[in-house]
Symmetry: C2
Subunit: 193 residues, 2 copies
């Protein structure tokens, strides 16, 4: 039932890949049309031209679909920047903040009126990924300090920055915004550099 999208989608049965792609694509289109609360499982399966029972063979409900969809998109963003296989450096941190800002920015552009519930579901999912990534980075450091607190602080800070950025009426240049914010996040992580 798709606990996480990390498991290689490559070795899967082609039918499964096809079905998931149909579901995800349809879901993306629907999200651009109306907000998450008003999208039913029926809507998704109708657009995807698959049977409703098939949907439930892949996802527990539409919330699981949202989690999976957000996770998958976010991870692609991370992998594109090869941030999944590296360690902590100020520059990698900068890339990460950039990625989160861009991701949330795109989300806001491509989705119809975002609603509270929708945003908080996304927030939880993304923060989980950021935290996992930071923990991984910090654990590779020679200094063997506890990573939990610093990773938590940085995670919330990064998400907060990105959320703030994506909600701004007049968004400033992304690079400028990130460069200004970076020191406030990196200050707690430098010990792992």
């Amino acid at each position: 039932m798709l606990p996480n999208p990390k498991q290689m989608d490559e070795n899967l049965d082609p039918r499964v890949k096809r079905t998931r792609k149909l579901i995800l694509d349809s879901f993306g289109i629907l999200l651009a049309e109306k907000n998450f609360e008003n999208i039913s499982v029926q809507d998704v399966t109708d657009k995807a031209q698959i049977n409703r029972a098939t949907f439930y063979a892949h996802f527990q409900d539409k919330y699981a679909l949202l989690d999976y969809s957000v996770s998958k998109m976010f991870m692609q963003e991370i992998e594109k920047r090869t941030l999944n296989a590296c360690h902590y450096t100020p520059d990698n941190l900068r890339s990460l903040i950039l990625a989160v800002c861009e991701f949330l920015g795109n989300m806001h552009s491509s989705c119809a009126q975002p609603h509270e519930q929708f945003e908080s579901l996304i927030e939880n999912q993304i923060k989980k990924h950021i935290f996992g990534l930071l923990s991984h980075w910090l654990s590779q450091s020679k200094v063997k300090l506890s990573t939990e607190i610093p990773a938590t602080v940085a995670t919330w800070a990064i998400y907060g920055l990105a959320s703030h950025y994506s909600h701004m009426k007049k968004r400033p240049a992304l690079e400028k915004f990130v460069d200004e914010a970076l020191p406030l996040v990196s200050v707690n992580l430098e010990q792992f550099a």
Copy 2:
């Protein structure tokens, strides 16, 4: 095994529609890249991301696929102009000639170097459709004459014209070309008007 593409594709199992669409789309893309002789069933199934055995559940071989593909495209062209549900008039005949010219014209633009075998397979398929259509038209006339000879002559004339048109180095305006040719075809059919 798909004797003709006429049977309503609507009521089919969604999986079947999906698979056929995947095959047809991939075939179309491949035809734009290389000529028919050099396209293997493997190429098609690889691009379509379906199993080779599945292909053979739908088509006998790649020649059957070509027949089906050409027939389907041509019939869509005919239905678009609502020529499938009408009778003989000079104006409908004109539309038909236009349709065949456009169809072959597009075919030549969108396919890589057409080869002999490829063209003759298409020719047979298209002529079959033209003949069927004309026979249907003429049979609706009040005059109960044999339609076979006139329909045959007109079929070959129409295909010949369209083939000629599509092979021309500098194609003249289509409307002009058709208007000039029309009388030479209609002369044998007027008795059914």
